[in-house]
Structures are given as C-alpha cells and as structure tokens.
Amino acid sequence: MKRTGAQILWEALIREGVSTVFGYPGGAILPAYDAMLEFPIKHVLVRHEQGATHMADGYARAGGGVGVAVATSGPGATNMVTGIATAMLDSSPIVCITGQVGSKLIGSDAFQETDITGVTLPITKHNYLVSRAQDVARAVKEAFYVAKSGRPGPVLLDITKDAQQASCEVEWDDSEVTLPGYRPDLRATQEVYQRAIDMINNAKRPIIFAGHGIMLSGAMEVVRALAERANIPVAMTLLGIGGFPASHPLNLGMMGMHGEAWVNSAIQEADLLLAFGMRFDDRVTGNLATYAQNAKKIHIDIDPAEFNKNVKVDVPLTGDLRHVLEEILPHVTEGDRSSWLKAIEAMKGDCAVRDIQNLPDSGHLYAAHVINDLWRVTDGDAIVVTDVGQHQMWEAQYYHHDQPRTLITSGGLGTMGFALPAAIGAKFACPDKEVWAVVGDGGFQMTQAELATIAQEQIKVNVAIINNGYLGMVRQWQEFFYDRRYAATPLLNPDFVKLAEAYGLSGMAVTKRAGVVPGVEAAREHAGAVILEFKVEQEDSVFPMVPAGADLDKMIRRPSPIVETAAD
C-alpha cells in the first residue's frame, strides 16, 4: 500500500518508540500535522519552538530516551536553535523535525525558507535534508540511531513539504543501522586497561570524578561498586550530580567554580584523578597551568576527541563507561585509604557544613534555605529542573540528589529559559514523579509563556521562582569584578502570583523563612501546578567561587561567615 511521506514519518517515529512529541505547526509542516491525527501520538502544543526543544531535552534527560520536537520551516526552525545548541553541549539525545519549503523552491528565497541544515550544522551531531518521501523512513531511523548511540546529541531532520505530501511504497527495514563512517563503539586496547588498573591499585590519594557520562551510560552501580571496593572518594561535576548518591559516605560534593572548597583543595593534593564521563570543562578546572599538578589522570570517555583537550591525561580509555568499568572492576584491589579520607575530612574543617537547618532565623529569607527546605520536604526524591544563575548553583549545593536523572540543568551552554520547558518535558517522561522547576526571576521570564502549555495540558509541574530582583549571577560578577557597578542587572518584575493566576494556575508568594515549608507542602498537595514565588535576599552571592581562570584552590570565600547561611 502506498503511504505519504507524512504518514511514513509518524509510523517511523512510532517504530522508534516515540509516544510524545513537542511542537508547533506552520505551513511547511502542515502535511505532517494533518497525518498525525491518524496515529497514536501525544502532541504537546508549546508556545515557542525553543520551548519544544527544551521539552524534548528535559524528556530525554529525565527518561533516558530520545526527545522529539517538531516545528515549521523558517522562523519555526530558527526558534529551535538555542535548544539544539543546549542539547549539543550537554550531549542530550533529541531529534528535531522541521518542515521545509518544497524541494523545487529551495534556494529561491521562498516564503519562510531558511537553510536550517546549514544553520544547525555546527550545533547538531548530524542533520539531514530529506526531499523524497521514499527517504523519510531511513532518515528517521538513522537520526534516532545517531542521536542516542555513542556520545548522544541532537539530530535535525529537515523534510520538504513535497516529501511529506508525495506517496510511495514502504518496506520497513528492521536491521541495525550501519553507517560506514560512524563508529560509536571505539575500544581501548588491553595494555591500556592494565596501566589503568595498576595506577588505581597503587594510588594513595585518588579521587573519582563523576560526570554526566555516568547517567548517559547507566554506570551508577559499577561506579559505586568500584568506589566502595577501593575506598575512593567521589566528586561530581554539575551534570554528574545524581550519578553517585549524595548521602553516600564517600561522596565529597561538587567540584569546580562553585564546588565545595574541600573538593577543590583535595583535587590539588590528589595523586590520581579518575575522570568518568566528564570533559574537564573550564568551570571545572580553573587555571590549567596549576590544575591538579600532583595527580596522574585516567580519563574514560566514549569520545576520544575529549582526551587531552584541556587537561593532559596519562591513561585515556576510550569506550562506554559502564563497559570499561565492568572490565576494570574485577582487577581493582580493596584499598585502605583511611588516611586520605581523614585528610579530606580535615580540609572541611568547620567550613561549609551544608546542613543549615539549625541556624537561627534572622528574619531574612535566603535562597539556600528555600532550596534546602525543598529538599527536605520532597524527601530528596523530586526531579528538580533548574534554570541558569545563582539559584542553579544553590540547587547544586543544597538539594542532595541520591538518584540519577533527578537534577536536570543546562550546564555547557548555560541557557536561561531552560527550566520551565525542560521541567514540562521531564514530567511527560516521568508522569509519576514529582517535578519542580527552580528558576530565577530573570530566566523565568524568558520562557514563561510555557505556563500556558502547563495549563492546557493540565500537568502538575511546580515552579519555585527564586526572586532576588536581579540577574543575580551577573550582579555577583559585577560586585566582585566590576566594582559593584550594576549595569543592567536590576529587574522590575511582574507580579508573579497574578501572572500564574492569569494563566489559570495557582500562585503564592513566600517572604519569610517560616513560610517556606508550609508553602512547599501546600504546593505539593494542590492538584494543579503551583507557582511559588520566593522573595529572597537581593544581594546574596554564591560561595565559594573560583574566579574564571584562577587557580582551583584560590577561591573567594564568604567574607565574614553570616549566620543565616553556612560559612562557605
């Protein structure tokens, strides 16, 4: 039987296991939308195509599958660019489908024609321009395969209108995709393994670096087994949070620019770093010339282009983290590293116990308290999706994640506006989980239109707006490095409670510390989505802080420990 390209598209998506897509219609994708009604597909109508891409991204990060976003040609497609770049930098598997003008019109500056494969070439893992109905099925299959295999990433499929409309016979091909130039399955040699094993067994002061690759590879258990057997403490990157339980005695906390002071100090004293699926981002290393000079480095990564990119490594091990560690684990000897663990404990001293619950209430509301209370009230079990800025760092410091894929955040691109749509995507991937968006007053306003999506879909995503009246993280840089000249960072905000109500949602403002727990509890109990606005201290800063390019252990510390937050 003959099928149109549009019908083939949906059937091919369903064959890839797709049940939900996030999209926005328009002329060039209309044939696909029309055909969609015949298929068991849940379509979530977004309010901006950027939102669709972040939703697909949040869906992928929360559920571990591939997220799908759909848009029309021209402005629909270009609105996707930020979301695609966000997914690219954080290795998130999404497939973006755009309509394109008819193939005969390509190159003619036709109405709503944009060369979106050209535009997205450097920010996709791969992309396709499909101009014949008979190529649709294969392109979809390849797109999913490329997006999720190896180092995951975004793939864009640009399908011309005539390719959606034309009919052809389809034969479904169930064989594995093989692409001659694409090798997601690189492996290191045995000799390299042996060097790694010897180094681990001989190390006196090792630290494991838990990166995002742990989630992407599903390596939580083997990482934990290795850490426990060899008694190696574990530090996390921002995107590695959740890859190792925060409550585990070997957990040290986050490393890097806003990481824990003792973690950064320990890194500078370590004799071995075991980098597990992390890419030594410049927010992680600080000044490279002085970075971890005493340590040998073992780097396990599925993407060999990451080796020696920023940090010179002694043993690079190419491959999927879980597979590599499963080969290494049996050869790792039980280690007694108590003196190293004690030394790190001593570095903590009395600084920065992130247990801030018992500090007296001074009448001020600090974001750290809000987030810490959110953690307590949700039993640390919610999926928290953050935006970008100070609140993002406080989330990383004060919400303790024991489970993988429970912190979803834009790390590499640092995309403001990510949280609200990504939280919606996460809720669709995990409908039974409690989902919170933790977002700044600035970033919230970048994609707040997606409140309408929440309302229309009647989903329960709670939103905690950390309202400090500033583009806080930028204000902090101005305070530290620009002489407190607050150029363009104070915000005049709308009434967020009324805004929520305008969308038919519930809004609530909290101004006192005593109001936080009741507020969060009320939001949880309410049937629909609740927008909780927390009016927090305006000029609070995130500590510690390694200024960009400074030595990792030369951190700016909280000037005089104030009682309300921990003495960072």
């Binding site: 321009l129 690189l186 410049d282 010339a289 060999p304 020696n308 990119k309 690079p316 840089w477 960009a548």
Partner: protein, 188 residues
C-alpha cells in the same frame, strides 16, 4: 607547522561544508583543501593542509572522525609521501621576451599550453615550493593571472589500509595539552 591530511569521505551533498565548518568551528586554519573522486564509487578524497602543531593535528583527526560522513583520516605528514600542486600561470610575453620565458619553463619542467599575441599560459605541476620558485622568476615578466589547485598528496608504497578498519583509529593521544588560560571562557 603544516600537517597534510588525506581524508576519505562519503560523496554526499554538504560533506565539503561539514568538513570546512569543522575547521572553522574548532579554529583551525586551512591552507589548502582539494577534493575529488577516488577509485571507489561514492567515496571522495580530500587533501587538507592545515597549519597546526602535533597536538592540534591529533585533535583535528579525532574531531574529523566525529563527522558521520567521514570514513577515514590519515595524517600523512609523518609518512613518506608525494605531494603535488598544479598551477596555470598567465604571463606577459612579447615576441622579445617569449624565448626567455620558454627557457624558464623548460628549466622548471613546466609546459606552455596556450600562446596569445602578448601572453602565454604555463602549466606546472610539482611540490608547492617548486611552483613558488617558478612564479618568483616569472614575476619580472608580469604575471597576469594565476590559478593553483592546492596540494594533493598520497603516501608512498602500499595503500594505508581499508576504509572500514579504522575502529581503533582516532584514539591516538597527543602528549601535550595547552597549559595556559587560552581556553577559559570569561563569560557568566
């Protein structure tokens, strides 16, 4: 330093764009890039000369392998290889100077492929420095136009290997990583 890469790619639309875009995105300078068919249908071969150090060359190779349409990358800088550039040079040549020009052409084993009343077109192939030398001596007569293909290169001896045997390739590792703050982004 200059590195010469032989890059086999699938002959699909946009592949040249993908490769060129990679160089730009990763901030590598292309000195020359040529592309053409190979002995295998559907496979094109590029010769790319880039100005980079050994560390950069390894990074480039690993990044080229990340392109789905790239089949095989060989840095042939370190291997014995032959490299050729082809140039066509239009030189002013009056009846008085023509013999001088012809003599130079002979010395450089180039050829005159077209003669007009007051100019000739010279075709020359050879390593780039030979062609540079020829151009240098022709300048005094007046070089009117010149076109060069850029370098094409091939390793000597047996073929380096099949297109599919690159599974462990792209994993070599440089021993130097940059140790300055050139890669720190100072953005919020």
């Amino acid at each position: 330093m200059r590195h010469t890469f032989a890059v086999h790619v699938e002959d699909t639309p946009g592949v040249l764009n993908r490769v060129a875009s990679l160089f730009r995105r990763r901030a590598f300078n292309i000195e020359s890039l040529t592309v053409g068919h190979t002995e295998t249908a559907g496979v094109s071969r590029m010769t790319i000369v880039a100005d980079t150090d050994d560390h950069g060359a390894l990074r480039l190779e690993a990044n080229l392998y990340k392109l789905v349409n790239v089949l095989r990358v060989d840095d042939i800088t370190v291997r014995p290889s032959v490299q050729r550039d082809l140039a066509m040079i239009k030189v002013a040549a009056t009846p008085e100077t023509r013999t001088h020009v012809m003599q130079l052409v002979d010395v450089f084993r180039a050829r005159v492929i077209d003669v007009a009343p007051d100019s000739v077109i010279i075709e020359a192939t050879g390593p780039e420095d030979k062609i540079d030398g020829l151009v240098e001596v022709l300048r005094q007569y007046g070089v009117i136009e010149m076109v060069r293909t850029g370098c094409v290169a091939m390793a000597r001896g047996p073929k380096i290997g099949g297109l599919g045997d690159g599974v462990e390739r792209g994993t070599q590792v440089a021993d130097e990583a940059p140790a300055d703050d050139s890669n720190v982004s100072y953005s919020v």
